[in-house]
Every structure is written in structure tokens, then in C-alpha cells.
Amino acid sequence: MWKEYSISYIKNNKITSVSLMVAALISAMFLSLITSVFYNMWIDNINQIVAKEGDWQAKIIGSISEKEIESIQSNANVKNVITTQTENGMETLVYFYEIRSTYEDMPKIARLIEVDASVIQYHDMLLSEYFIFAPDNEHPPMLLAFYVFVMVAACISLILIIRNAFLVSMQSRLHQLGILQSIGAAPGQIKTCLLQEALGLCLLPIIVGIGCGAGLCFGAIRLANGIAGAYRGENAEFNYHIGLFLITFIVSMLTILCSAWLPARNLSKVSPLQAIKGEEEQNSVKKVKKFLLVSLLFGIEGELAGKSLYVRRKALRTATLSLTLSFFAFSIFLCSITLSGISTKYTYFERYKDAWDIMVTVKDQNINDIEGTLDIDTLNKAKSCCVYQKALAYTWLTEGMLSDELQALGSISEAAGSDVSVKDSKYQVKVPIVILDDTSFKNYCESIGVNDGGSEWGMVTINRIWDNIHSNFRYKKYIPFIKEQDNTGFSLFQNKDRNDYMVKIPVLAYTDELPVLREEYANYALVQVMSASTWQNMLANMSVESQETYINVQTATDAAIWSVQTEIEQLLSGKNYEIENRAEEKQFNEEIKKGYILIMGGLCGLLAIIGLANVFSNTLGYIYQRKREFSRYVSVGLSPRGIKKILCIEALIIGGKPIVITVPLTIVFVIFAAAASYINPMEFLESMPIVPLFIFACMIMGCVALAYYIGGRKIYRNNIIETLKNDILS
């Protein structure tokens, strides 16, 4: 009899049954997707760590004897011991069977072979991936905790969707089940029937959903490989574990069983008469909030809509939370990306747009080794080719040497902080030195109006300092650093603490124009530019910052970047170098941005889908109760237009709430973030991500409107008089 009853109910309530099946399918699919994505991220992390550093769990630094190795192997938990020779000396890698006890077993091993605990190194990174943390590490990694939190939160909201879908379905059957109870159906029988029905309806959607989720994960990994694989060098592999299927399956099934069982249990607490009359529903409203604003805006219909939503707030909680979170996260993310784009524009792409096209860093080479191999004459389509090295020195400046403008600002050390130290009323100032190849130095001198720059040894002083009182770091203003004097120079030294070796270098000219390079210099430093010959002849005993030579190339056209790069690669073959090009970097930056937007958009979309699924299950699942609710309104004179108005207001509130909450929060965030990063808010307004946010908001509103249109049509088209008669006037 129960089987027949269930089959007939499913057949006659196709929408409710389908919405349950869809809820089960969507939830299982996303549960499977989320668990698969996190599992694959986890496996990929482990693979990367193992590829870089190996799969050992702990190691002993220093050489140990064969006998000691045997002692280590005698530990029951030790799986393998491997001794290797590295550039740091001998290392003994230890592998365990039970890696959870690595932190307990290794100290025992150290005591056994009588070595100090300080020679033990743990593979913390790998172990933490298995959630094994050092006993003295009180704070597990924040990022890992965040990942777990996101995963658990997403899973809980998906579980809530299934639960809500069942709650909706059960509530709508209260009347029917009350009739069954009234004719003698025992609560146990009803519970069993509902559980069987739930299993029958949801088993297939869950299995299909899990398969779809894994498929989506596979697609997501392929997409990620397409975006980042080329830059990462290797593709991530798709991994799937039977445990994932079992976990998702068990969690989904348990949720469904609990979701079906709980309303059935509640039902058994209600008397059959109450269930039939729907008194439970009426009596459940113990308090209601006032809805002054909606009442003021939309009249009594607004009040009824607001209060009706308030009464159903628990069922709608998933929708409200998911939709608000998705819109908020998407809007904050887009604004962050825009702000960061503006920042990058000023600090990098826009700032160095005309400074470089190709940048080569040649390792273990001095400027003289490169000069001649690579210059403007050897490259066909290059506009400029500057080979340079960097060095850092210091000099002493007295108060009297500082420019009037700087003195007017107050103490230099007060502005510069630890960048400038004071000793015996003298300032120790950083002197970054840019050593240009002779041709580039000559060209640079010409560009600043010094025509005989190449003929004498000496340096050009970049006479400027950031006026941090009248400008911020993003829109810097400069003032002269020192007084310009003829026939002068600076004594340079490299050892900050012992200035016993000092070299005085003459100043060829003062300027505030830097050579056109992709370089950032210290804020309160006196930058000097000199030729390679000057460096070699006057400062040969000093050392360069790192044994690296840089080549800054500008090409004739953007189109020539790739061909010039190929030329450079040929000329530098056999040397240890890294090469970057502006077009590639910009493209990479764009790709990464796209990737971020795709991932975040996907996550926000996922949240939005969860919320919208909840809206659909609410609007379509509560039809019976809503018909009763509207019957009451109609009986006291609510017109058909009034019904439409109430439904529209409800849709507006559900769809509008995430927007109303998000907009002020986003404004506060943007004001705060723009102020913190010294970005002009007007500039943000010009590039504000209004279009994608508007589209996202419209999609939310559109989907909510669609749900209400479908549900509302059923309420509206249904013969309300019949409901009124059957349930109220009977």
C-alpha cells in the first residue's frame, strides 16, 4: 500500500519530486566537485613538494656510520634509510611506515645513534600536507585552515540545500500525511514510507551527480592547465580516489535520510487534526518583525510580502547567505583586481612601458664580458641596448651639502628613517651605482646635455630625493638632494661600519633624469650613474651588488620583440641567463588575471547557484502552503494584481537583499583600500567594474524572478477559490 502511495504521490507531484531530484543531483555534483578539486589540489601540492625536495619525512645532516644506519633501520617504524651526498655534505633520509609518528620517532632515533637533535631536519612542508604538525607548532598553516574552512562551509551549505528541499516537500505534505494519520497510519509507517521514498528518488541523482562533479573537476584541471600550465612548466594531473566517491555518497545519503526523517519525526508530534487543518503552520508564528520600509514603499502588500518572507526565513537562509556571499565576494574580488590593476599600472606596466621591451639577467658575468657580445649594433631591430651592473656604496653628507629645499623640509634622517644614519653630525647616505656600458653612458650623458661624458672618468649624480611630506609614494614629487657644486666629488665606501677604504669620484654633472631602465631605486639614496670604464679604473676594488649583468633592450616596434629575443638567445647561448619580455609578461599578467577571474567567478557562481537552487526549491516546493496563504488574502479582498504585487515584492527582496547589503560594504572597502594604497578614488571610479557586477546582479535578479514567475503562475493560475473552500471553508 505504501509503495503504491509513494509512487502515486511522485507521479502526481512531479514538480516536487523533480525539485528533490534536482536538489540531490546539484548537491551531490557540487559536493563531488569540491571534494575532487580540493583532493586534486592537495595531491598536486604533494607532487610539487616531492618533485622539488623529495618524499622523505625526516633527515639527519652530516655523515653517519653503517652501524648507525643499521640502528636506525632497527626502529620498527622505519621503512627505509637512504644516504646521499649533497652540496651541503652527507644527508641521511629517513622514511617511515607510519608517518604520523615522525615527530615522536625521530628524537628517539637521534638518542639511539647519539646525535644532537639539532642535526635532524623534518620535511615540515610535506608532513603538514598530511596534517602532521610539529608538536611545538601551535598554529597550523593559515592557508590550509582556510582551505579546509572553505571546503567544509561549501559542503555544509550543499547539505543544507538537500535538507531544505526535503523540508519544503515534507511541509507541503503535512496536510496529506495528517489525513493518513487520521485514518490510522502509525508514525513509524509514515517514517519508513518517507525514507524509502527519499532513497528511491535520490539514489540515481546522487550517483549521476557524483560522476558529473568528478567530470567537472577533470574539466577544471584541463582549463587550469591551459591557462597556467605553459608558465608552470608542467601540467597538473587529474586524480580520483574511491574514497572521494564513498565520502560524497555517504554524506549525501545520510543528509537525505536525516532530512526525510526529521520532518517525519516532527509530523508524529502533531495531532492528525492539526496536520489536516494546518494549525501547526498558523500557530508557529510567535513573533514577526515590523517591516516599516517595505510597508511604506509598497503598502500592505509590502508588509505581507516582508512578513511572509520573515516567517519562511529559515527555509530561505541558504538562499540569502549564498546569494549575499557570492555577490559580496565577487564584488570585493573585482574591486581588488581593479585596484591592484591601477596600482600595477603605476608601479610597473605604465611606469616602465617606455623603458624596456626585453630584460636579460646574465648570471656570473661582468659587464665587460658582455659588452661587445651584445650591443645595439649586434641586434637588428633594437632601438636601444643598455648593458649595466649595479653596485651599492655609501657616502657622508654634511648638513651644509644638503639642498636648501631639503633643509627646508627638516631633518633628513627624520624623513628617511633608518635609510640614513647620523654620525658626528654627518649623514651616511646610500649610493646606488648604475654602471652602464660605455656607449650607453655616452648616450645617457648626451641625453641630459653633457656632451663630453664619455671622455672623462667620473659619475653623473641623480640629484633628487622624494619629498614625502608633500607627496605620497604613489604620486611622488622630488626635490634636489644636494647643492650643486663645480669640481666636486663624493668619497664612496662599501663597508657601512668600517669606511677605511674610500674612493673619491668626481661628479661630471647633476641631473634629475634617470637612465631609461626598468629599475627601482631606494627612496632616500643618492643614485650615481657611471661608465663601465670609470668603474673598472677607479672602483675596481669595490664589489658589484651581485655577480649579475643586466641587459635592457628596447625594440623598434612591439612586433619585433619576439625576433629580437630570439637573436639575444642565440648571442647568449652557452651563458647562464634569464630573459623576460614585456609583451610576454603583460600577456602572462592578463592570463593570470583571467585565471583568477575565472576561478573566483566560478566559486562565486557556485555559491550563487546554491542560493538560486534554494530559491527555486522554496518557490516551487511551498506551492500548497502559499496557495493557502494567498487564499486568506484573497478572501479578505486582495485582488489578482495584489497577488502579483506581493510576489514581485518578495522576488525583489530576495534578489535585492544581496545587492543592498553588498553595495555599502563594497563602497567602504573601496574607500578604505584606495586610501590605504594611495589610489585616487576618482581613478577607481573611472575603471570601476560596473558592467560585470551589473551582469551578475541582473543574473541573480533574473533567476529569482524566473523562480517566482514559475511558482507564482502556479499560485495565480490555481483556483484559489477551490483552496479556500477545501481547506478553510470546508
Binding site: 498558523q282 508564528v285 505581507l304 512578513k307 516567517v311 478572501s635 479578505v636 479582498g637 471553508l729 470546508s730
Partner: protein, 227 residues
Amino acid sequence: MEILKCAGLTKVYGTGDNQVTALDHVNLCIEKGEFVAVIGASGSGKSTLLHLLGGVDQPTEGKVFVEDTDLSTLNPTSAAIFRRRKVGLIYQFYNLIPTLTVRRNIIMPMLLDKKKPDEEYFDQVVVSLGIQDKLNCLPSQLSGGQQQRTAIARSLLYRPALLLADEPTGNLDQKNSREIIEMLKLSNKNLKQTIVMVTHDEKLALEADRIITFEDGRIISDENRRR
């Protein structure tokens, strides 16, 4: 003065073999200020009559006139406005809006019309029904009797031409039933309110001025008891 008139009122439910004639060519006139009780066995057509008089349902045949308004000519919106202004409906299960306070429930028909209630009349009604202390309560916080009084207050507030009560005491104990009937009688006497009450209870029907008995969708007796 005639306030309600039914001519050849017929209501048929279903089609073919399942066809049921709930009302069969009923002719009826009710004078202003009358208190009419409609009695009959289950399925006799008394509730169907009430739905048609209240404009919540449309007759298959025949006409209903309330204060010269032909209900069959009303579109859904006009019917809603008619229910709001001209008819007060009282149900066995009160039919209050659970999310609105007693006060908002009572004035709801006026709110739907974007009108403000006459506060003096409102006070008079709630005091006479004894629910003046319950105005800020939700329906769930009231007893059955209080809920029915609230429903009566709502039906009276617009000073409707017709007050239709469907088993108004069907869900109440004897004491509350007695009180509700007294209140209906009071409003009939003091406010000259025309009342049509459907009931199973013949004892209650005796409180009315006129008793109409239905059987198989027809009026089988119409007894005027006005003294």
C-alpha cells in the same frame, strides 16, 4: 429594502458522470437588516450558496445581486474589491493572517484600499467584541474565541452591506459559541447589519430572524421568525 437577490442561482461541479449540482435554480431575496440562518445537511448546498454570495465563486447559471451589483459581471479585480468593501466573511477556522497583529488583521480590508479606518468606529467595534487588549497580539497568541472575534471585527469594520458567516461557532466551545452569536445579534440589532449565517446547529439557527433550509441544492423551507 432588498439588499440581496438571487435569481435562478445554479452551481454545477464536475462534468459527465462526476457532475454534481450543488445549487439548483435557487431564488432568494434578503432584506436589509435581516439575520438569516441557512441550515441543511452536509452537501445540501448551503456553503456553496455562501461562496456565491461572497463573490469567491462564480455561478454556473443565474445571477446574484448585492445592492444592485450583479456579481456575475465582476472581473476578478472587481470581485476582490467587492469582497473587500461590501461583504464581511467569517469562517469556521477564522482565516486570520498569522503574520499580522490583531489590529492589522482587522483593518486589512481598509489597508488594501489604502484607506485609514475610522478610529472611533474601530474602537467601538473592538470594545464591543472585547478584544481591545489584544490588538498588538499575533493570532497565535489568542484563544479560538478571541480569534473568531477578531475575524468578526474585520468583517464589520468596512460596514459591509452583507455579513456572511460560515459555521462561525463550529470550532468553538459552547460558552464561546454563545458569546459569538450574541455579538452577531448585537451587530445586527445595533448596526442594522444584514447577516447570513450557515450552520449545522439548529439551536443556533433559532437565534436568527429567518431560517432557510436547504436540501439537494434547493430551498425546501423559508421560515420567517421575526416577531
